[in-house]
């Protein structure tokens, strides 16, 4: 003690000068800190409030349309003749078109995406995942106009020539992976029910294979029925649905994979410890635990598909009528985004007309849908994280 004091002599006066600030210095320092804090907050708030600005400015130009023409025509009429005199602004077919295309995209993206996510997180080895993740990321980065170009120049002629086969192949592509996984899991479950522990693995393989063959046969039969379909135009809802589905795929895969990963080792190991097979663990533990995350993946996929502009503008045919029957993907449709993009070129010169404001009304609709989807997915993800913890 004494020696340390000798080595580091403490001089009380100097210490008090360096450690305690004078009142004035401390006040200025606190003031600058407060000002800096406020400036940072202001900048952050302004970037966060950009979304408020967007809402405000879109709504400001959308409201004159509703004041002028009311809600009823916009949402219920099927007559979309904005350039005619008198003009009519029935956006129902356009809403239906957006919905139809999104539905188609989801039908493509969700089975494939969730299967891929399950495979990546629980079935395939870790190395594959390391390889596939960057590829998926790159797929997500390809600009939408490149997808649109592909849809218009490469895919549309294909559909026009061989529409039935495209439909069949799409059906096989969509339905095979989920059915394969289902057969694999089903085979597992079946084998566990039927045989004892002795021949479990052989029985499992046999059961899986039989189930798979049955499923594949069914698939083939249904697919072959599609090949007779004739397509009159390549730019239709089917084309756009398939392309949009593939565009939404990376989102669906990565979000649902994250959800499955978030379930964690403990739950899986707990299930194994209780004697569950891998299939049982997957179907009884992992997927239920990740269900809300999977929901969020679907919602984000919907958002991606509904907000996409270039692909639908280039390849959906842009005919504003409701397909007959409503789920007929082989007819051309027109979507909200494509209408905004396509009509603004003409409406731009008449700023202030109903024709200009109706596009903002559509944008407001899109924005509202996006906001609702976003809120739901946030809630759902938040809840799933809380549940897993």
């Amino acid at each position: 003690m004494a020696s340390s004091q000798a080595v580091f002599p403490v001089r009380p006066a100097a210490a008090s000068r360096s450690l305690l600030l004078s009142k004035r210095a401390s006040r200025t320092r606190r003031l600058t800190a407060a000002i800096g804090h406020t400036i940072l907050l202001a900048i952050t708030a302004s970037s966060a409030l950009a979304v408020m600005f967007i809402f405000f400015y879109i709504a400001r130009d959308a409201i004159p349309f509703f004041q002028d023409r009311g809600f009823r025509e916009f949402f219920t009429s099927v007559e979309w003749y904005p350039a005619a005199d008198p003009a009519s602004f029935g956006a129902l077919p356009i809403f239906v078109g957006s919905g139809l295309v999104t539905l188609g995209a989801i039908l493509v993206a969700v089975p494939l995406g969730i299967t891929a996510a399950v495979c990546l997180s629980d079935i395939l080895p870790f190395g594959v995942r390391q390889l596939v993740k960057p590829v998926i990321e790159v797929l997500a980065a390809i600009p939408s106009v490149a997808y649109g170009f592909f849809a218009l120049v490469v895919f549309a002629p294909l559909i026009q020539e061989h529409g039935g086969w495209i439909l069949a192949i799409t059906w096989w592509c969509i339905a095979t992976p989920p059915l394969a996984v289902a057969a694999f899991i089903g085979g597992d479950l079946l084998a566990d029910r039927l045989s004892g522990a002795k021949h479990a693995s052989i029985g499992r393989w046999i059961a899986s294979t039989i189930l798979f063959i049955v499923a594949a046969g069914l698939l083939l039969l249904v697919g072959l029925r599609f090949t007779n379909v004739e397509v009159s135009s390549g730019t239709n809802a089917l084309n756009v649905s398939i392309i949009l589905g593939f565009m939404a795929l990376p989102t669906v895969i990565s979000v649902s994979e994250d959800a499955l990963q978030a379930v964690g080792r403990e739950l899986r190991e707990g299930a194994y410890a209780l004697g569950a097979t891998r299939a049982e663990t997957l179907t009884r533990v992992v997927i239920p635990a990740a269900a809300s995350g999977l929901c969020a993946a679907v919602i984000l996929g919907i958002m991606r598909a509904i907000g996409e502009t270039m692909v639908v503008w280039m390849a959906s045919g842009n005919a504003s009528k409701i397909p007959q029957p409503w789920f007929n993907l082989l007819e051309p449709v027109r979507t909200l985004t494509a209408t905004i993009a396509g009509d603004m070129g003409e409406a731009d010169h008449v700023t202030g007309s109903a024709r200009y404001h109706v596009l903002f009304a559509m944008a407001l609709g899109l924005l509202t849908i996006a906001f609702i989807c976003n809120t739901i997915s946030e809630r759902v993800i938040g809840r799933s994280v809380a549940k897993v913890r």
């Binding site: 966060a48 979304v51 600005f53 490469v154 731009d348 903002f360 899109l366 996006a370």
Partner: protein, 420 residues
């Protein structure tokens, strides 16, 4: 992958193709590239090879004049059509007045297009409506049947046989495609104005978005206390990330152009600002993650050395998280370069010259994504410039993929450094 294959194959054809003598002539006359004497010699050879064609045509014209009036009428129509086709294939005839459109001053510049044109020169398309239950099927009718028994008849065989010496195709690597300006609506030249426009828009967006994004991230991570305010801010940012891109375009039009009047009408500045709002959430999220990844011990060490909070952030935390932030910036550059919808109403025009830097404040520019759309939807001769469209798509996709690959590699480096 299925998507990329046709784009790569088709796109490469814009760069590597069998160029005819007309291509070399156009490049020499319009861009002043190439050796003029070599090209002149080639043109002389090609002209010599074409001589018999024009002689036959002159002969037929004389024959036409000596015919009876009704015969002349039956031949005149098909003959004019045939001559127009031939002009498209080989360029204007000797003795023609110089055409006004640049595209009609030259023949076909590419051998693949030339063969397509040759097919149209030799055959005309008629539709077969015999099966009434289906749409009319196209049938190719040889034009030679129109001129049977006249002196024009041998010309068709000659064209089919001797097109090669007339056009002299050679394999060419046209790297200038990237750096030439386009002439006559992309019939000649390259995509430099679009490249430059995309570059300006991307850099502009980064300039606006990155400072804002990093500051917001610093605030959210280092300063903000968890509470309702931060929750609201976070919700806003995630909602911003979910706004459809076309809505950004309308917002840019309504806010930056019609309300703020940053420029009289569309301009690079307005487009960059709109794109900046679009990529802001990406930048904020990436920077937030990068800042969070800096070990807590760094911060504690800096604070314990007596540095202030701000100094800790600028001297310790930001340098340590810089690679992560840069990764986010590179990814958002790719996003900004590829987006079409936001720039439709705020920045993009279909035709334009390359801009100087100071013009970006007030003038609109062509840009790769918009011009891809424009060329394959609204161009007057969509089929004739497919190679340009493919070339543009390939350039854009490669640009974006390159940026993303850079980001992925950078991130791998960082994680390796952080783990050991």
């Amino acid at each position: 992958m299925v998507l990329l294959l046709p784009i790569i194959v088709g796109g490469l054809r814009a760069f590597v193709f069998r160029a005819t003598v007309e291509h070399r002539r156009a490049v020499l006359e319009l861009f002043d590239h190439g050796q003029s004497d070599a090209v002149a010699a080639e043109i002389a050879q090609a002209t010599a090879a074409r001589q018999p064609v024009f002689e036959l045509i002159g002969q037929f014209e004389r024959e036409l004049e000596s015919m009876s009036w009704s015969d002349r009428r039956t031949y005149a129509g098909p003959f004019d059509e045939f001559k127009d086709r031939l002009r498209k294939l080989l360029g204007p005839f000797p003795g023609d007045a110089e055409p006004a459109l640049i595209r009609s001053q030259y023949g076909q510049t590419r051998w693949d297009r030339a063969q397509e044109e040759l097919r149209h020169t030799l055959y005309r398309t008629e539709y077969d409506y015999s099966d009434t239950s289906r749409m009319g099927r196209p049938v190719a009718v040889p034009r030679v049947t129109d001129f049977e028994g006249t002196c024009l008849e041998p010309l068709f065989g000659m064209l089919e046989r001797d097109l090669e010496p007339m056009l002299r195709p050679q394999w060419t690597f046209y790297w200038r495609f990237l750096f030439d300006k386009s002439i006559d609506a992309h019939f000649f030249g390259g995509i430099w104005p679009e490249m430059l426009g995309t570059l300006y828009l991307t850099i502009g967006a980064i300039l606006f978005a990155v400072p804002m994004g990093i500051i917001s991230a610093v605030y959210l991570v280092e300063y903000a206390r968890e509470g309702w305010l931060v929750n609201v801010l976070r919700t806003c940012i995630s909602t911003l990330a979910g706004v459809p891109s076309i809505v950004f375009g309308l917002f840019g039009l309504a806010f930056f152009i019609n309300t703020m009047h940053v420029s009289h009408s569309k301009s690079v500045l307005a487009g960059s600002l709109t794109l900046a709002v679009l990529i802001l959430p990406v930048v904020i999220r990436a920077s937030e993650e990068a800042i969070r990844a800096v070990p807590q011990t760094y911060k504690e060490a800096a604070l314990s050395l007596g540095s202030s909070r701000w100094r800790t952030i600028t001297r310790v935390i930001l340098p340590a998280s810089l690679p992560g932030i840069l990764t986010g910036v590179v990814i958002s550059m790719g996003r900004a370069a590829g987006e079409t919808a936001p720039i439709i109403f705020t920045a993009a025009v279909s035709m334009g010259r390359p801009l100087h830097v100071w013009q970006t404040l007030s003038e609109a520019t062509p840009a790769l994504p918009w011009n891809i759309y424009n060329l394959c939807q609204e161009h007057e001769a969509v089929d004739e410039i497919r190679h340009v469209q493919y070339g543009m798509v390939l350039t854009l996709v490669m640009l974006v993929l390159l940026l993303n690959a850079t980001a992925i590699i950078m991130r791998a480096r960082i994680s390796r450094r952080l783990t050991g």
